[in-house]
Symmetry: C2
Subunit: 201 residues, 2 copies
């Protein structure tokens, strides 16, 4: 499973043959088919892992008492990033499914359900007046979780999710101009170059 999904993500599902998986494991195709009924079964297992984890994370957010709409949205974003990092191969594969087969169509259907729940959370936060209302909530939702999902393009397995989560939430909610995001007071002015940070790559 692990080897297969990694190959699917590196080369694409359709471009990866069962022979590729076998070779990577030092086995033959037949050995694979002794343990797995079909190539597509591997795909299904992986996308189900991703969908189950995402659904559970959203359920947990919904079940948490005492959160207002903005807190729920922030929790949903944090959870999404955590699940994405924690189940990186599975989520990566899920996000690349096209819907060519019934299995893929079912995965896309479940995914649309999740996207819908996230979009609802955004809308509720906007309706609550805690978020800017000059943008379409649906557009906000798509951009926000498009940013989250784009993490699969560059995050490496084993990355610590916490700082990443902080960065995503900070950027999404406060933007990249320095405004009210620093602790305590509003910054008055930051003008002038060379603020002495040499952040390496």
């Amino acid at each position: 499973m692990r080897v297969a999904v990694d190959l699917f993500n590196r080369q694409g599902y359709d471009a990866t043959s069962v022979g590729d998986v076998a070779r990577e494991l030092g086995l033959t195709k037949s050995a694979i088919y002794h343990h797995v009924p079909s190539k597509e079964h591997l795909l299904q297992s992986a996308v189900d892992e991703a969908l189950d984890a995402l659904t559970a994370a959203l359920d947990a957010v919904s079940a948490t008492a005492g959160l207002d709409a903005e807190q729920r949205l922030r929790a949903a974003v944090r959870s999404s990033v955590t699940v994405l990092v924690d189940h990186l191969p599975a989520v990566t594969l899920l996000l690349r499914v096209h819907g060519n087969t019934p299995v893929e169509k079912a995965a896309l259907a479940r995914r649309r359900g999740i996207d819908q729940r996230l979009a609802d959370m955004v809308r509720e936060a906007v309706d609550d007046g805690v978020l800017r209302d000059d943008l379409d909530p649906l557009v906000i939702s798509r951009l926000l979780f498009g940013m989250v999902n784009s993490l699969v393009e560059w995050v490496r397995p084993g990355t610590d999710a916490a700082p990443l989560t902080d960065a995503v939430v900070a950027l999404a909610f406060d933007g990249l101009t320095h405004g009210a995001h620093s602790p305590g007071r509003r910054p008055s002015n930051q003008a002038g170059s060379g603020s002495g940070r040499g952040t390496p790559r």
Copy 2:
């Protein structure tokens, strides 16, 4: 070309056969091969269109005199969205290339060059002190353009790029809390209202 690239984007490049393209056109495979040397040539033409357009857009930003680092970054974001919408099928295909063949590897190499230029712009804007410096510029760049690139997942051909561009820039630079971006102040009493929302729908 148009039909082929659309199919590539709907089904995936590897999952789309030349026969699929032919059928969609009401022709046979042979008719396709009379006009095109190979399936991969179709891919190359499309990704080249995307890469050329993106490169030209960045060149135009770089060539514009009198812009500071932040203005250049904003222009780069706007240009990227515009190119993405304007060349939606080609850019979509580009963003899904895996690097399995020499053609794809070359496309990825060019794309990395573009990503590098965008990352440099972000870093320059941060170094200039106009953007928040509590986040790694490289992370900012990846999240920012990950958000931009995620547009290919849901933008439809023929969409007007202008409002989309505004939304992306607004969200990216100002975030989704209402802060200093809109004239007039928002209601201030949201703090303790707790469960004061009757969820619509």
